[in-house]
Amino acid sequence: MKILVPVKRVIDYNVKVRVKPDQSGVELANVKMAMNPFDEIAVEQALRIKEAGQADEIVLVSVGPTQSQETIRTGLAMGADRGIHIEADQETEPLSVAKCLKAVVEKEQPGLVLCGKQAIDDDSNQTGQMLSALLGWAQATFASGVELAEGTAAIIREVDGGLEHIAVKMPAVITVDLRLNEPRYASLPNIMKAKKKPIDQMSAADLGVNTTPRLKTVKVEEPAARQAGIKVGSVSELVDKLKNEAKVI
């Protein structure tokens, strides 16, 4: 079986995001980028499935600017086999990405699509679900446990109040949650090998997908700054401030 893992290039999780002065979006120039952390978890899970002998090839696919190749290369260094880069210079939206992925699925015929539950830049949490609908495949979202069997997958989902165990038919789209696994470090031999692994190039237009944005960003704002705390001199002053200033008691 082949596993397809979509990976997205996003601002590194640890970077402090800054809003552009004109509020049209966030500052991306010269900002450190990395693979979306949930996608790393999907890559890791695919590698584990392959190592367990339940898959024979892992294909990474990324829709985005030229630099997305570097993100694919990161996943290849973890151990994936090859990559597909779909060039798209505009900001990508879940529906157009899902349509690109559908075209790739039809071409590559994977038995499973494993993706992150959401990207940490736009937090859309839509691409996996849209892809399953477009393909008419089963979907399992927010997976924190994945066990494959003949023709089915047993999934554990973290829900309010406990764990939900479900079974889905394969082929399926599974979106993964934070606690599914701890992504591995890339070893030096794998980093060196990754340089020689192939990345196919194509454009969204080649796949017949129009990526013109349908959504319009009106304004992006920084969250309101938190006010600094103060020290109070006594309990009675504290009570007075809680009552009359904060009005919480």
Partner: protein, 483 residues
């Protein structure tokens, strides 16, 4: 000395009441070092907020013959900031002198008061697009005044030097209350004796550092961090030279860690993931940095230039058999996890055992010889001792530490003395220093007498007597004035 009530009364003449602490419980955290090795007692802890207040305090202390023990963040490792047990001392904490008096982009310098927390200085400089490179594990608590008084080192010394190398000028309050203004941000100032360097590393025995002018640098914008398995220390030293050459001398850190240490770190901190399996016998955490943001962005072939430099270096070392395995941090989370291993090392060994801790310095060319010699001697005395030698390989600075056998060792406490002696014997064989970056404090006073050149010791005693004729400035630290 006057009786206590009179003395405290005298202090409140020039300090706010809330800046004088005499309650036993409130004083406790200031009277023990963080490792819990040294405990002292004091009559009071005073928290002056200005140079004028320090000056008044010092003059008062001299008049009334009160022992003064200066203290910063109390993160020292040799008891330099902990008073003796006589209860006759007043701790002078600089922690409430936290003003940043000047910040100059054009001059690449900042003038800061002694109580500024190191990590806060990092953030302050970074917000203004510049970099203050002094970096050590205690950065969240230690103060710049303490860093200067001990000439602290840390992980970036290989590229930027130790605290002394980063200091342009100092403001020092002398025992008689006079304020010596050496607070120039000038890069060049050959006007007689370099007095500031007398105070840097003097551990509060000559005067009180109240403010300093420090160097700033261009902010690194791109980094590549790798954990690299090496067969031995000698190879690691060779690799350092190669990486410096390959990276345009931009090696920011080069930290040696053995597998024995990593096993302890992973045992004590199970949340830190293990990056290399199986663990090589020795590993180096290495980091290169570039101040050019483009070095961190993919080029037209999709490669990140700084990562390419590191990968090419690692690949060469791998093919030459100098590197057995390696991993590169692919994002900031992994970088932090790699650094977590190094930064949790002191705490992990402390939880695992009562370690035999040292802070030795040898030339890089002698590191392997020293390591082999010390390890052999240690195991001759106590075969089950675990060698956890980690440290700043780039500076020839090893924390050649020992911990007891896994599961505990009833003989450990009685063997410790002999184990220290074995390490220091090996150190003497290679003409190393007993203190690379921690200082002498109260821990190594006697040892210093044995190893320091007698003429140098004599000159040190003369200098001490000049600044502190009655021996009330941090008494019992660095050198003893009587006997």
């Amino acid at each position: 000395m006057d009786d206590m009530a009179t003395m405290i009364g005298g202090l409140s003449g020039f300090l706010d009441d809330k800046d004088i602490v005499t309650d036993r419980d409130d004083m406790a955290p200031f009277l023990t070092d963080w490792r819990g090795i040294f405990t002292g007692s004091a009559q009071a802890i005073v928290f002056p907020r200005s140079t004028e207040q320090v000056s008044a305090l010092m003059a008062y202390a001299q008049t009334h013959n009160i022992n003064i023990v200066p203290q910063g963040g109390n993160t020292g490792l040799v008891g330099g900031a902990i008073p003796d047990n006589t209860g006759s001392s007043v701790i002078l904490s600089l922690s409430r002198m936290t003003a940043i008096r000047d910040f100059s982009e054009a001059n690449n310098s900042m003038t800061v008061e002694a109580g500024c927390i190191l990590q806060e200085l990092h953030a302050y400089a970074e917000e203004r697009g510049l970099y203050f490179p002094l970096n050590l594990a205690a950065k969240g608590s230690c103060t710049i005044g303490g860093n200067l008084a001990t000439n602290a080192g840390g992980v970036n010394v290989v590229r930027y030097g130790n605290t002394r190398d980063l200091c342009l000028g100092l403001e020092v309050v002398l025992l008689d209350g006079r304020v010596m203004n050496l607070l120039t941000p000038l890069r060049k100032d050959n006007t007689g004796y370099d007095l500031k360097n007398l105070f840097i590393g003097s551990e509060g025995t000559l005067g009180i550092i109240t403010a300093a002018s420090m160097k700033l640098f261009a902010l690194p914008k791109a980094r590549s961090t790798a954990l690299v398995g090496v067969p031995d220390i000698e190879t690691a030293v060779t690799l350092l030279g190669k990486l410096q050459a390959a990276s345009g001398d931009s090696v920011e850190a080069f930290e040696l860690m053995p597998a024995t240490l990593l096993k302890v770190v992973f045992k004590q901190f199970p949340d830190i993931p293990c990056p290399l399996t199986p663990l090589p016998e020795f590993m180096v955490l290495m980091e290169i940095a570039s101040t050019n943001a483009r070095d961190g962005q993919p080029n037209e072939t999709g490669q990140i230039p700084i990562a390419e430099t590191m990968e090419a270096f690692l690949a060469d070392g791998f093919e030459a058999g100098q590197i057995s395995d390696a991993t590169l941090a692919r994002n900031d989370i992994q970088r932090q996890q790699l650094w977590d291993i190094r930064e949790h090392s002191p705490e992990a060994t402390k939880r695992e055992s009562t370690p035999v801790n040292t802070d030795v310095s040898v030339t890089r060319s002698q590191l392997q010889t020293f390591y082999d010699l010390a390890e052999k001697e240690v195991h001759k005395i106590h075969p089950t001792a675990r060698v956890c030698a980690y440290g700043h390989l780039g500076d020839g600075n090893l924390h050649f530490n020992l911990i007891e056998a896994d599961g505990g060792d009833p003989e450990w406490s009685e063997k410790r003395g002999a184990l220290f002696e074995a390490i220091y014997w090996a150190l003497a064989m290679v003409d190393g220093s007993i203190s690379a970056e921690h200082g002498i404090g109260q821990m190594k006073v006697e040892q210093l007498k044995d190893v320091k050149d007698p003429v140098a010791l004599d000159v040190m005693t003369t200098i001490k007597a000049l600044f502190d004729p009655t021996g009330i400035l941090n008494p019992g630290k660095v050198i003893t004035t009587q006997d």
